[in-house]
């Protein structure tokens, strides 16, 4: 087996291990909620769960290292690689926090998030690409790895916040909070929708080619891998019998990406409705029993602690190392590129979080919502800014 396929296999093993560990953490949470005599069985579940997580992580790290060796550069140079690394670091951050606080409930939610992130990553082209000149820099590697690590520690704070909210939001009353926590569930399912729809059409091997007129008024061609709901400006199918786009978009809209987004929404919504019909409950209510025995104060503290640990790492990686690299590669340390700006926004956002928490006593629910919103900003920078707002960093 050559190094590249060995590397993929290792990632797959990690993926399975994380799924397994999620189930084991579920067992730990369950047995902890019964009577005290069960604390032994809780210990067993918990130990097994974290062991499997660590095995998965080692395999994941080996994927990273083997791919690094195969490519000759750190595997963080395209969307697939970067996002996978981010998923891996979420697990690393979880393991770190787990050893401080020993909370299985955190694993029960953090690992599925990591699994989802890695699945999401796998939807993008997975081949190893050589580095373009701008990316050939030691500082870039340091910058990306540190930034991703900081972001993943911050992500753990969102997981803790999510658990806190699941537990503390009263699901029997019709409140804004109840609505928004369900909205979070739905958003997660949209990502699932993206993964499922992409996989479905890939398996079906769907391809359709169109020509269109781009925003610079030049004719170009575009290959869709999903049935075109939206057509590019003045698009014409190349082959006969191709599915005609339902709606044609003006030139500034990338209709192919829009099509992907809408398919994800369609699939995600369908999955959501299906689950609601089967379970006959709000999804957040379905999850609530899993967190019933979580200690709110502990979750609140983990949420804050994770921001405290992650914020300096994020600042160092996403701003300071980024500036050093930008200075070498682009001759200026700051250029108001959208990706840079969103890193700054993330930084400012968490700064506000820390101030309100420290000086205005924003604890509990407020703090938990803040942590969740912070994660949404990070994901926005990771996904939307890459895909929608093009800039120097746009990999796609």
């Amino acid at each position: 087996m050559d190094l590249v396929s060995l590397s993929s296999t290792l990632l797959f093993i990690a993926f399975i291990a994380y799924l397994l560990a999620t189930i084991l953490f579920g067992g730990a949470v369950k047995s902890s909620s019964s009577t005290n005599d069960n604390s032994k069985s809780y210990d067993r579940w918990g130990k097994a769960a974290i062991t499997v997580t660590i095995i998965g992580f080692i395999s994941n790290l080996s994927y990273f290292i083997t791919r690094w060796i195969a490519a000759g550069h750190a595997p963080v140079s395209n969307l697939y690689e970067f996002t996978t690394a981010f998923g891996m670091m979420v697990v690393a951050a979880f393991i770190l926090i787990y050893f401080i606080y020993k909370t299985p409930a955190l694993g029960l939610f953090a690992l599925p998030i990591a699994v989802l992130i890695i699945s999401y990553a796998s939807m993008f082209p997975r081949e190893i690409s050589p580095l373009i000149p701008a990316l050939k820099s030691y500082w870039l590697t340091v910058h990306v790895i540190t930034a991703a690590l900081g972001e993943s520690i911050l992500a753990i704070s969102a997981v803790a916040g999510f658990i806190y909210l699941l537990k503390n939001i009263d699901q029997t009353k019709k409140t804004k909070e109840r609505f928004w926590i369900e909205a979070v569930m739905y958003t997660i399912l949209l990502v699932v929708g993206f993964v499922v729809s992409t996989t479905t059409f890939t398996i079906a091997d769907y391809k359709a080619e169109y020509t269109y007129v781009g925003k610079e008024e030049i004719e170009e061609t575009m290959v869709y891998t999903m049935p075109a709901l939206f057509g590019m400006n003045e698009s014409v199918a190349v082959a006969e019998n191709t599915f005609e786009p339902l709606v044609e978009m003006p030139p500034i809209v990338n209709a192919k990406k829009l099509t992907t987004v809408v398919w994800s929404i369609i699939f995600g919504t369908a999955i959501y409705i299906l689950l609601r019909l089967i379970l006959r409950k709000r999804l957040s209510l379905v999850l609530q029993p899993l967190v019933k025995k979580s200690n709110s104060q502990l979750m609140d503290e983990i949420g804050y602690r994770a921001v405290l640990i992650g914020f300096p790492v994020f600042t160092l990686g996403a701003l300071i190392f980024a500036m050093i690299w930008a200075h070498e590669a682009w001759s200026r340390f700051w250029g108001w590129d959208p990706k840079e700006v969103w890193a700054l926004i993330t930084f400012l956002f968490y700064a506000v979080f820390l101030h309100l928490r420290l000086t205005k006593g924003w604890e509990g629910k407020k703090s938990a919502w803040f942590a969740l919103l912070g994660f949404i900003i990070i994901m926005f920078n990771l996904i939307a800014v890459n895909l929608i707002i093009a800039g120097l960093h746009s990999y796609a």
């Binding site: 590249v4 949470v29 902890s32 909620s33 490519a71 000759g72 909370t103 409930a105 082209p125 081949e127 190893i128 690409s129 050589p130 373009i132 000149p133 701008a134 050939k136 820099s137 925003k215 500034i252 025995k293 979580s294 200690n295 709110s296 104060q297 502990l298 503290e301 804050y304 405290l308 640990i309 914020f311 300096p312 600042t315 300071i320 500036m323 200075h327 070498e328 590669a329 682009w330 001759s331 200026r332 340390f333 250029g335 108001w336 959208p338 700006v341 969103w342 926004i345 400012l348 956002f349 700064a351 506000v352 101030h355 309100l356 420290l358 000086t359 205005k360 800014v385 707002i389 800039g391």
Partner: protein, 549 residues
């Protein structure tokens, strides 16, 4: 305003809320509270004490965290709005009219509104920069308002504190124990092994840990202030240079803003990954996207000239060094860096023509025009001669019969020429373009036949000097030290005291991570049997504690 004298005899500055020494509340408002605000130890902050003059008001405005957070929040939102459409410096147009037209053409009405509102150049707008300035002011004032009084009261605090102080701490407990003195001794020992700094005064203990972390925010704010100051400095002349230099192969040019430095381009190299050399690993990627750039490189030589070199005396340049400028590998000298930023391949450099008889194609000689330096005359043998009347480097069209050139870059060279021959001593006029010739004054007998062309590559370089970088670097380092200091450590204090009436009191304060300080007390209690305590702010916590997970 007057100083406040506490019952314990300590003289406190006006505005103090908790005596700096013993901790007694100094006014009714404070003693009414069940838990006191310990963030700045109840010290006298200017903003809380003086509120009348205009200066007080400005001071108080900027020292407020609420105001500070609003400023950050507005900057954050504005920054986000600036990413909706590309900013002007990413737009391929240079003058205002073209820029406006670009936004309209690509983004329609929304683009026009965005442009008209100035959002397309948001980050250099006066109001955005004003907000950043306010952030700086707020940082300075808020920090000064707090750090000095905080420092003083932490320094002055006594080990033994008054019960009215202890009972108003968030973590507080009191009760009788069997062997109070022995327990206090045990607690002291235990706390020491937990790396607390323990002070003892009779039967009172103050155990303290990580006080230096309290300075974290002020250190990091100082770092930020230095950074912002550094950014402001760039506006001053001499600190900052940002120039573009287009350098052709074989050309030697003065490097703008430098002290007599010249740069010569030996060659420009553009490489892509070949599928063969990296088939195994990169093959799929190259297959999918086509060619992938591997290297942009300008091989250059750096020269330094004498005083008057810039004025044109380029005879006595002395060679400094050779270098290969690549992306991520700038050329550095003095305080300058030259970066590889852009390039143009195969720009026309020289064109060779032959003067011919149109009918017979008989040649009367060849000559080569250097497009960077066209001569006015090219004499040939036997009385033949070509005169260049006009040179249009980048010919576009005729307007009212006059040829137009859109730039001095030889993208589409055209010449208005006169051909002299023994038959036509007064010359025949011709307008010569690539692949086409116009004879404006009637049929000619001779023509210029295009023979060959030489091209060369052009390097797009950026010349940069930024003397503020060291300051920015220092600001960044100080900021990182400050955040680490404030985030990875926290300040914990535990007071244990045996009162006259035989009660043992325990109280604790931390600036963050209450769970951890409670764990510490529990540890101590295991060996020293201290009374039960309560989190007076979070009654629910106790209830949940037994539940686990």
């Amino acid at each position: 305003m007057d100083k406040i004298v506490c019952t314990c005899g300590n003289i406190n500055p006006a505005g103090t809320e908790l005596c700096e020494s013993c901790g007694r509340p100094l006014n009714q408002n404070i003693s009414d509270k069940q838990v006191v605000d310990m963030r700045y130890e109840g010290s006298a902050r200017r903003s809380q004490t003086y509120k009348t003059t205009i200066i007080d008001k400005i001071w108080n405005f900027f020292s407020s965290v609420k105001v500070g957070m609003w400023i950050i929040g507005i900057i954050l939102i504005a920054a986000a709005i600036g990413t909706i459409l590309p900013q002007v410096f990413y737009v391929p147009a240079t003058n205002e009219a073209d820029i406006a037209a670009y936004y309209e053409r690509i983004y329609g009405n929304f683009g026009i509104i965005y442009y008209e509102l100035g959002l397309s150049d948001l980050y250099s707008s006066w109001w955005f920069q004003g907000l950043v300035g306010m952030l700086g002011i707020s940082l300075v004032i808020a920090s000064l308002d707090r750090v000095i009084p905080l420092y003083k009261s932490l320094k002055k605090q006594k080990t033994k504190r008054h019960i009215s102080f202890l009972m108003r701490q968030r973590v507080y407990g009191t009760g009788e124990v069997e062997e109070p003195i022995a327990n206090i001794d045990q607690a002291e020992e235990k706390l020491k092994t937990m790396r607390y700094k323990v002070k003892r005064e009779g039967n009172a203990i103050l155990a303290e840990k990580g006080r230096f972390s309290r300075w974290g925010p002020y250190v990091n704010h100082l770092g930020l202030i230095l950074f912002l100051f550094g950014v402001m400095l760039r506006a001053l002349p001499g600190f900052y240079v940002d120039e573009t230099l287009w350098l052709r192969e074989g050309e030697r040019l003065y490097i703008p803003e430098t002290d007599g430095y010249f740069l010569e381009s030996k060659q420009f190299i553009y490489e892509t990954y070949s599928k063969e050399e990296s088939e195994e690993v990169f093959g799929d990627a190259i297959e999918r996207v086509g060619s992938i750039a591997k290297n942009y490189q300008s091989d250059v030589a750096l020269y330094k000239g004498p005083e008057d070199a810039v004025a044109g005396n380029t005879e006595e340049l002395s060679f400094v060094k050779e270098a290969s400028i690549q992306v991520n590998k700038p050329l550095k000298f003095d305080n300058f860096s030259v970066f590889q930023m852009d390039f143009r391949l195969d720009e026309l450099a020289k064109m060779t023509f032959q003067l011919q008889d149109k009918e017979t194609q008989e040649s009367f000689g060849e000559f080569t025009i250097d497009l960077a330096d066209p001569q006015s005359e090219y004499p040939l043998v036997n009385g033949y001669k070509v005169e260049i009347l006009e040179y249009y480097a980048s010919f576009t069209e005729f307007v009212d019969g006059i040829p137009q050139s859109e730039s001095p870059i030889p993208n589409n060279p055209a010449f208005l020429i006169k051909m002299y021959s023994p038959e036509y001593p007064n010359g025949e006029t011709s307008f010569v373009m690539i692949k086409n010739t116009i004879e404006p004054l009637g049929e000619n007998q001779h023509k210029l036949a295009f023979q060959s062309v030489e091209t060369r590559d052009v390097s797009g370089l950026t010349v940069r000097k930024d003397l503020t970088l060291p300051l920015l670097g220092i600001g960044g380092i100080i900021f990182m030290i400050g955040v680490a200091q404030g985030s990875y450590w926290n300040h914990r204090r535990i007071w244990i005291q045996l009162l006259e009436d035989g009660q043992v009191v325990i109280a604790a304060h931390t600036n963050k991570n209450w769970l951890s300080v409670k764990k510490d007390i529990d540890e101590v209690s295991k060996v020293a049997h201290l009374p039960q305590y309560e989190d007076q702010q979070d009654k629910e916590a106790k209830k949940e504690k037994e539940e686990g997970v």
